[in-house]
Subunit: 216 residues, 2 copies
Amino acid sequence: MKTPRECSKKTCKSLLAAAVDVFAEKGYRDATVAEICELARANIAAVNYHFRDKETLYREAWRYAFAESIKDHPPDAGVGAASPPEERLRGQITALLQRISDRKNKDFLIVLKEMTNPTGLLHEIMQEMLLPLQKRMQATIRELLGPDASDMQVQFCEVSIMSQCVNPMVLKRKDDRNAPPGIKNVKAYADHVVRFSLAGIHAVQDKAGKKQMKQG
Amino acid sequence: MKTPRECSKKTCKSLLAAAVDVFAEKGYRDATVAEICELARANIAAVNYHFRDKETLYREAWRYAFAESIKDHPPDAGVGAASPPEERLRGQITALLQRISDRKNKDFLIVLKEMTNPTGLLHEIMQEMLLPLQKRMQATIRELLGPDASDMQVQFCEVSIMSQCVNPMVLKRKDDRNAPPGIKNVKAYADHVVRFSLAGIHAVQDKAGKKQMKQG
DNA sequence: TGAATTTTAAAATAAGCGTTTGAAAAAGTC
DNA sequence: GACTTTTTCAAACGCTTATTTTAAAATTCA
């Protein structure tokens, strides 16, 4: 048996890909080793041979799915660090929306399942992978709000933006018919979120400015 | 056996309350009739006697939980229809945030589970109960955007606002330690969402106005 | 008291899963 | 081409868990 990371064999890779699909569709508990092996055209014992057990396969499957989705959609959408913060925010919002609305990407579905039916198995690895993305967006928002903004204001604005990106995609993923009509056009919705959020940030900034003046 | 609606007996009510708790915590599939009966201090056969089967109990449990949560948090938060649209929007946002952040209310948790692991059993009843709330918010947004706004702009703004309300509560519900720090103060976050969103709406409105001028 | 309702324990019924095993096949090595 | 290692395979193991039904007992109510 090999450790999962050095998974170079064909069967091993098939298992990983099949596991991603099945875990994304059913969640950890409702996914069965048998179904994963069947989809991978492998023997029922293959999971235990290549990954030791179902739990390890689950962790490796998410790691794999996340890496793939980031590879397809770089988090800055090609907007360089030298660009003004407005443009960088646009890049991050667009990249995030496209990444999680891309049906090829299954890591988002697994995260959703993990949110509502936690197994706890992905807690550490998710923290490790997602925190940097969050920090990057917070830094951009802080630039836009200016030095007088409080941590709470940065937090709130970040929550507002992330929510606008994540939440509609939950509905869209589940069923395109039930998704809000316009969300089918991700680019148009991304433009809306950027416009809406930049205005929101400026409103929060204005309030901070007023406070500052009252105090001074 | 009685039909579930005329559930007046003590055992029947206990079952309903217990079912809400267990379904909210585990979802339909992972919840067991045995656990529900145990929590209700009823015999294992009680569900089948009073509700015919698990599916019917599930539907009735959600209906009950939703009715309770709406009773505790009226959707307009006491802001009358005569108030200006800004205030009505504030009322709706505040009411929604307080309703779904109230840990007593389990219907939200069941909806979340249904989103990510659909059984399909609640589809119609959820449509029936939630659509009016959605329509009401859309109407308010349309007032704020003015008569020149497109349906898509109304939709997008509604999605932006609903997302800001729903999404953070998913995290807060799961675990207060993992929730964004400020979200623990729901009232402060509600104020932020109102400010952020009114600015966002006005930005969308300005864009509509410009378009109008170009065309005219 | 007698009839209807409700509760109960036990059983019926049914299904399913992750994992192990030991032999067979394939791949790799000298 | 014999020998070793790695990989595949079918079968079965062991253990678990669930919903629903049944028929008798208890209770309620007239």
